[in-house]
Assembly symmetry: C2
Homo-oligomer: 775 residues x 2
C-alpha cells in the first residue's frame, strides 16, 4: 500500500483552493472542481475554451449511448452502454483587441480557483494581460443548483485595470464535445430556436435516442449589441461589452436543461416542457440561485458535518467527501444510481456497481433515508432488466448487473459480468439494512419482497451441489476479490446468499402474520409456491461456508489455502498497480487478494462474528491484501479500529478523505473516486466511531487516532439526529433533535436524549502503542 500524496491544493476547512495555474495538473483539478446535483454534472473545465490537456465533460445522470460488442458467445452482452458526454452549456469565448482568451496561450497572472462548500459555488479568477500591456481581471462563477435539478448558472465578471474598449463575447450551447473514451460525438440536433427570450436547442443521441433540451438566457447590459449565431450543433449569441478602467461589468447566463429518456414524450412535448420550464426561471438572477444554494448547503452541514480537530487536512478532506456525495446523489430524481466516478468523468463509463449498496448506502441511511430508498427503487425499476439478464445466462429470477447505467448489464468482460454475482446479494443486503434502520415495511412488503423473491430464485438456479461435500454453493464465480477468477464456493458469496435465503424466508413468515394479503398477492403475481420458501430454507442450511475449524479462518474459496504464496510486501513498488504491470493471467494464481472478501462479509454482518474470529481472519487476510481497489483500505481500517490496532487503523485511513485531493492513485484526472468517498465516510463513522448497524441495537464503540485532538459526527436514526463527539479523554453522545434513542455504547445500553451521555474514553480506545505496526 505504497501511496504517495501529490500535495498541491491549499488546505482550508471549508473550501478547496488552487493558487496558480499548472497546465500539468489542470485535468486533475477539473475533476476536483466538478459541480453536480445528481441530475447533471460538469467538470471544472474552463468556460472560455482551452487548448491544453482538458476533459470537457458535461454529463447527465442516466443519459447514455451504446456501441455494439463483438460477442463470441451466448450470455455475453452485445452492446456496451456508457454515460455520454453532453452539451457544453457553459460555452463561452472571449476576445479583446483581437486576442482570444485561452489559458493555454494567453498571458495571465494571479490565477486562483475555489470550490466553496458553504455556497457550492466554483469560482475562478485571474488577470488577463493583453499584448498591448493592458490588463483585465476576470472572475468566473458557476452554480449547479441543488434545489432545482434542471438549473445551472454562470456569472462572468470583468474588471478592467487600464483597458478601455470592447470585449467580444460568444456564449451558447455546444452539443459537439467529443466523448473522449469513444473518440467521437454522439449527438444529432432535432431543433433549435429562440423562445420567450431563451435560446433553445434539443439534441438526440444517435443510437439510443436519449434527448436533451438545453436553453439559456443572458441578461445583457443595456447598451450591448447582440446577434445570434447558429451552426450544426451550436446555438448562441455574440455580443460586446464595453469596458472602462476601474468599472466592473458582468454577465449572467442562466441555463435550463431537461434530459428525456422516455420515448413516449414527443419531440414537440419535450420542447414545450423545456420552454415552459425555462420561462418559469426568466428574470431569476445568479444571486437568487446563489441564495437558495447557500441555504441548501447550510442545512446539509447542520445535519451531516463531520469535524476533525487538530488535523486540518482530513477536516478539509472529509468535508470534500460529504460535499461530493451530496452532489452525486440525493435521491430527489427517480431512476438514478451512483456511478463509480459520479458525474465527474468518463472512466468506468458512468456505470454503477455493487458499491452502491455495500459502500454508499450507509451514508444515505444515516444522512438522507429518502435517498437510500430511492437507490433501492432504482433496483426495483430495473427488475425487468435483471429478469431478462438471468435468462441470458440460463438462470431464473433476477440477475442484477455488475455494471450498469440503465439497469441492463454493461460490462463487456465476461469474467466480471457472468461470474460476479455479488450485486444481487448486495441488493438483498441493502433492502435488509434499509428496512432494519428505516423500518419501512410498506417498501419491504411490496417492492422489497418482490426483489427478494426474484433474487432467491436466481441464487437457487445458479447454485449447485458439490459432489463430494454434498453442500450447496456457487461454482465458477468471482467474488469481490477480483484476483481469484472462476473459483468454487467463494465464501463471501455463499455467506451472503445464505443470508439472503434466510432473510427472505423470515420476511415471508413475518408477512404471513403481519400482512397475509400482501404476501398472497405477491405469491400469486410471481407464481411462488410454499415449496420455494421451504427449498430456500434448505439451501441456506446446506450452504457451504469453507472454514478451517482448527484456526477459525474462513477459506476464501475451495482450494485457496493451497494457492501458491507470495509475499505481498516483497513486490517491488513500481509493479503497482499490478493490473497494468503484470500479465493479466498472473494476477490469478497466488494467495493474494485485491480487496476484502472474507473480511467483507464479516464487516457487513459484524454482529454475527465474535471479535476473536475477526482477529484471526484479519490477521490472515490483511497481509495478503494489496488494496488494488480504492474501496479496500477503509474496510481494513474499520477492522483495525475494532481490534484495537489504532495506529494501523489510522494508516489505512490516512489517505481516505484525500484520495482525490492529493491524487494518491494518480488517476483523479479521469474523475473522482466517488464510491471511495463514501467509504471515507464509513471509515470515520464505522471505523473510529465504531458504529455498527447490523445488530439488534445500534452500537457505538468510538476510538480516536493519536493524530487527532477530537472529532465529531452526526447521524440520523428515525426522527432523531444523534451527535457524537470524541476527544482523547471522553465521549459525548447527545441527540441534536428528535426523540430519545436507545443506543449500545461499548458494553452498555443507554437511552440517549438531548442531555446526552458522557463517558470517559476506555484506554483500549485510545492512543495505545500498536506493537504490530511499530515492528
Amino acid at each position: 500500500m505504497a501511496k504517495i500524496a501529490d500535495k498541491y491544493l491549499k488546505v482550508e476547512p471549508w473550501a478547496i483552493v488552487e493558487e496558480g495555474f499548472d497546465v500539468a495538473r489542470n485535468r486533475v483539478s477539473e475533476s476536483i472542481f466538478s459541480l453536480g446535483n445528481e441530475y447533471m454534472g460538469v467538470r471544472g473545465y474552463p468556460d472560455e475554451g482551452y487548448n491544453g490537456d482538458s476533459l470537457l465533460g458535461s454529463y447527465f445522470n442516466g443519459l447514455y449511448e451504446e456501441v455494439p460488442v463483438g460477442a463470441h458467445y451466448r450470455g455475453i452482452i452485445r452492446s456496451l452502454r456508457f454515460m455520454v458526454n453532453a452539451v457544453d452549456w457553459l460555452y463561452t469565448r472571449i476576445k479583446s483587441e483581437g486576442e482570444i482568451l485561452n489559458l493555454a496561450r494567453s498571458h495571465i497572472s494571479g490565477f486562483t480557483r475555489r470550490l466553496d462548500f458553504k455556497t457550492g459555488v466554483y469560482t475562478r479568477q485571474f488577470d488577463w494581460h493583453l499584448q498591448s500591456g493592458k490588463t483585465i481581471h476576470l472572475c468566473f462563477e458557476r452554480i449547479v443548483s441543488m434545489t432545482r435539478s434542471n438549473l445551472g448558472a454562470q456569472r462572468i465578471s470583468f474588471w478592467s485595470k487600464d483597458y478601455e474598449g470592447p470585449v467580444e463575447i460568444q456564449s451558447g450551447l455546444d452539443f459537439s464535445p467529443l466523448h473522449e473514451d469513444q473518440g467521437r460525438n454522439f449527438w444529432e440536433m432535432i431543433r433549435k430556436g429562440e423562445e420567450t427570450g431563451w435560446m433553445c436547442a434539443t439534441g438526440k443521441t444517435v443510437s439510443t435516442g436519449n434527448r436533451l433540451f438545453s436553453s439559456f438566457q443572458i441578461q445583457l447590459p443595456d447598451k450591448a449589441e447582440c446577434r445570434k449565431e447558429e451552426s450544426n450543433k451550436y446555438t448562441g449569441i455574440n455580443f460586446k461589452l464595453m469596458l472602462e478602467p476601474g468599472k466592473p461589468s458582468e454577465i449572467e447566463k442562466i441555463v435550463v436543461n431537461v434530459a428525456e429518456k422516455n420515448r413516449e414524450v414527443s419531440d414537440n412535448e419535450l420542447w414545450q416542457n423545456g420552454v415552459a420550464l425555462a420561462h418559469s426561471f426568466s428574470n431569476r438572477t445568479f444571486n437568487d440561485i446563489l441564495a437558495e444554494q447557500e441555504a441548501y448547503w447550510s442545512k446539509v452541514w447542520q445535519a451531516s458535518d463531520i469535524t476533525i480537530e487538530g488535523d486540518l487536512e482530513n477536516q478539509q478532506g472529509i468535508r470534500f467527501c460529504i460535499f461530493q456525495l451530496y452532489q452525486t446523489y440525493r435521491g430527489d430524481n427517480p431512476g438514478f444510481n451512483i456511478g463509480a466516478k459520479g458525474l465527474t468523468g468518463e472512466a468506468y463509463r458512468g456505470l454503477a456497481f455493487w458499491d452502491t449498496e455495500t459502500y454508499c448506502l450507509p451514508f444515505y441511511l444515516f444522512n438522507n433515508p429518502k435517498a437510500a430508498r430511492s437507490l433501492l427503487e432504482f433496483r426495483y425499476r430495473s427488475l425487468q432488466h435483471a429478469l431478462e439478464r438471468a435468462k441470458d445466462v440460463d438462470c431464473e429470477g433476477a440477475f442484477y448487473p455488475i455494471a450498469t447505467i440503465d439497469g441492463s448489464e454493461s460490462c463487456d468482460l465476461w469474467q466480471h459480468s457472468n461470474l460476479q454475482l455479488q450485486v444481487g446479494t448486495a441488493v438483498g443486503y441493502g433492502i435488509w439494512h434499509y428496512v432494519k434502520l428505516a423500518g419501512d415495511k410498506s417498501f419491504l412488503y411490496k417492492e422489497g419482497m418482490e426483489i427478494l423473491i426474484q433474487l432467491c430464485r436466481f441464487n437457487e438456479s445458479r447454485g449447485q451441489w458439490g459432489q463430494q461435500t454434498g453442500q450447496f454453493g456457487y461454482f465458477g464465480v468471482m467474488g469481490p476479490d477480483e484476483f481469484q477468477l472462476m473459483v468454487n464456493n467463494n465464501s463471501y458469496l455463499n455467506f451472503m446468499a445464505k443470508k439472503l435465503f434466510e432473510y427472505t424466508v423470515q420476511v415471508a413468515k413475518e408477512m404471513e402474520q403481519q400482512a397475509p394479503e400482501k404476501l398472497a398477492d405477491l405469491m400469486a403475481m410471481l407464481n411462488v409456491s410454499k415449496e420455494e420458501f421451504t427449498q430456500w430454507e434448505r439451501l441456506a442450511s446446506c450452504m457451504r461456508i469453507p472454514l478451517d475449524e482448527k484456526t477459525g479462518i474462513y477459506e476464501q474459496h475451495d482450494g485457496f489455502f493451497n494457492m501458491p504464496h507470495i509475499d505481498v510486501d516483497a513486490i517491488p513498488v513500481e509493479q503497482f498497480p499490478l493490473y497494468h504491470h503484470w500479465s493479466y493471467d498472473r494476477l490469478y494464481r497466488y494467495d493474494m487478494v485485491k480487496q476484502p472478501d472474507v473480511l467483507m462479509f464479516m464487516f457487513l454482518y459484524s454482529s454475527d462474528f465474535p471479535v476473536d474470529a475477526k482477529r484471526v481472519n484479519y490477521e490472515y487476510y490483511e497481509p495478503r491484501c494489496i488494496h488494488e481497489s480504492s474501496l479496500s483500505p477503509s474496510i481494513h481500517s474499520i477492522f483495525a479500529a475494532e481490534l484495537g490496532k489504532h495506529e494501523e487503523a489510522y494508516r489505512f485511513f490516512e489517505f481516505a478523505t484525500r484520495l482525490d485531493l492529493d491524487n494518491y492513485n494518480r488517476n483523479t484526472r479521469e474523475g473522482l473516486h466517488t464510491t471511495s468517498i463514501a467509504a471515507a465516510w464509513m471509515n470515520i463513522v464505522y471505523g473510529f466511531g465504531g458504529l455498527r448497524s447490523d445488530g439488534d441495537t445500534l452500537l457505538l464503540q468510538p476510538s480516536i487516532p493519536a493524530h487527532w485532538d477530537g472529532y465529531s459526527f452526526n447521524f440520523q436514526h428515525h426522527n432523531t439526529v444523534v451527535s457524537v463527539k470524541v476527544d482523547q479523554e471522553q465521549l459525548t453522545v447527545t441527540t441534536a433533535s428528535g426523540d430519545p434513542v436507545e443506543l449500545r455504547i461499548y458494553d452498555q445500553t443507554f437511552t440517549v436524549d438531548s442531555e446526552g451521555v458522557r463517558l470517559s474514553l476506555p484506554a483500549s480506545s485510545r492512543n495505545v502503542t500498536d506493537a504490530h505496526m511499530q515492528a
Copy 2:
C-alpha cells in the same frame, strides 16, 4: 454424441461425386472439393462466377493479415493475425448470346462434379441451355500441382450440341475477393503487366506487406481474337471462341503463383523471380501437369492407402482423409504448419493449434517422416516468437502460441492464449516422438534440444508450489478440456510437463556421453547451468499428479471430483453444440469434459499405464465427455478398441472418416476439419490396428469391427514399409519394402519380413458382443 449424417454425395471408392446442383449445399461442396498442395489452396467454387451462397476462397499457406485488438490488459495480444483470402486465379466469365453463365441464374442440366483421388483433378460439367433453346456442354477441370508448388491449371472444354457462334470469355487474375470473416479485401496492387506471354500482377497485403505474384498464360485456338483488360485489382484477357455443333473446343489456363513474406526480397526481384518461374512453364500443357499429378498420387496410394472391405462409405471416407492430408501438408516447403481447416476456409482463421503435434504428427511420422521433421522445424523457426511471448506473460523460456499462423500468438481470447500451456508440452512430445521413431539425433542434439531447454525454462517459470501439498504444478490454467477454465494442477498438463522435464534431463545425460561438444555448445549459447537440469529433475519428481489411490482414477484437476454432476446423456440434443446454446460461463461448472484430458495423456504415453488403469479412467471419463471437439471421438474409439469394447469403438469411429463428406457437424461449409481428418487416420491405425508407438518396440494389437470384412493399412518405419492386413479370421503383417523390422504383435515379438507373420485373430479382438453398448 448425437450426430446425424447429411447423406448426399455418391459413394465411390476412388472419388467424391456430386450429381445435380443443390444451391443449398454449394458451400459445403466448395469445402469438400477443395484442392491444395500445402503451398496454396482453392475451394471448389465455380470458376465462372456465381451469385449464390459461395465462399470464393483462395489461400496461400502463411500469407496473413492482421487487425488490431482492443486489449484491456498486459499479456493479451494486440493484433489478430489470420490467413488472408488471396487472388482468384481461376477467374473466368463466360457469355453467349448475351447471356452470362451463372449457376445461380442460368438454365442448366446434368450437373456433376467429381474429385478424383487418383489424379487429383476436380472436374465439373453440365449442359448450359441458352434462352434460344440451344445447348452447350461445359466441362471445367482444375489441378493444383503436388509436384510444383507454384503451379495451378484450369481447362475449360466446350462442346456445342446445336449452337453455332461465339462464346465470349474473360479470364484473369482477380485480387479483389473479400475476406469474408473480416468483411473486406486486404490487397493493394504493386505492379501489373505482360511478360513473355504471361499476364502478371503483384499484390501486397495492406497491413502486413505480404506479397503475392500471380501470372497466367492461356493457349488460345488460332483464330481467337484477344484483348487485354485491366482494372484496379484485376488483370486478364478477353477473347471469343467460335463454337460449331458437335465440335469440341477447349482453353487451358496455366497459372504460376509466388507468395513472398520476406521483406528483403525487393518488389522488383519478386517480379523477376515470378516472371522467370512462369517462363519456365511456358508451353506446359494441362495434360503435362495432369500426368505428373497422376504419378504423384499413384505413389501416395502405394505407400499410404488404407483399404476397408465391406464398408464402401468408410473406404471412400478414409481415402478422402488421406487425400486431404497430403493436400494440406507434405513438408516440401519450409515454414508451414497445418491450420485447423487446412487451406479450405476462413474458420479458425487459418491458425495452427496443438493438434499439429498431438493429432497430425503421427500420420506424417508413419507416412512421410520428412514432413514430420518439417513440422517440428516450424516450431524451431518460430522459437524467437515463443521466447518473446513468454516475456509478455512474465515468464522465461519459450511459450508457444495456442493458435498461430506465423509463430506469434494469434488467439484473442485471453483464457485460451494465456491459460492453455499445452502447445509447449506437445512440441516437446513431438520431438520425443519424432526422434524415437525417426532416430534423428542430429535434429535432437541441435534444434530439438534447444527447444526442449527453452520449454523447460518456461515450464519452470510458470509453475508454482502448492502451499498445502508442497508439490509443484500449474495454477490458473486450462487443460485440453476447455470446459474447465482457470483450474489448478490440471493432470494432463502436469503429467506432460513432468515428462518434458524428464526427457530433457535424459537427453542432456545422453548428450554428455554421445555428443558432449554439442551439449557444451548449446549450454554456452543458451547460458544453461548444470543446476537447471538438476532443478528440472527435482520439479519432475515433485510434480503433482492428482490421483485417487483408492479408485485409480486421475483427478482432472484439484477439485474436479467435487464439481457438480450433470448427466450428459440427459442434455437435450437441441442444446448441442453447447458453445452456441448455453451461456458461456455455464460450460465451466460441471464434471463434464469437452474432450479427452486425462485420457489424452494416457493415450500419448500409453505404455506407461496398465490396461486396468486405462479401463477405470475410461469408464469414469467417457460418460462425462460431450465431444464438443471433433478431435474427441477418435481418442475414445482408440481406448474402446484397446479395452475390447468393439461396438463402442466402432460407434465412436462411425463418422470419423466422413465428418465432412456427410457434414455431421453442419459446419463443413466453413471449411474441412483438417486436423480431425488426421484423427480419423489415427482412429484406424492406432484404434483398430492397435499400433502403439510410445513404447520400446512398435506394438500392434489389431481388432476388427463386426461391420467390416477386412481392412489393411501400411506404415513406414525407418526404411521399411510395413503392410498390415486384418480380416475377421486372421492378421497378416508383412514388409512391402525395406529391411525386416522388429514388431511386438499382441504379446509376442516378431521380426517381420516380406514373408510376413500370419496370426489368427484372438477372440478378444473380434466381434464380441459389447454388453455396455447393448445396454
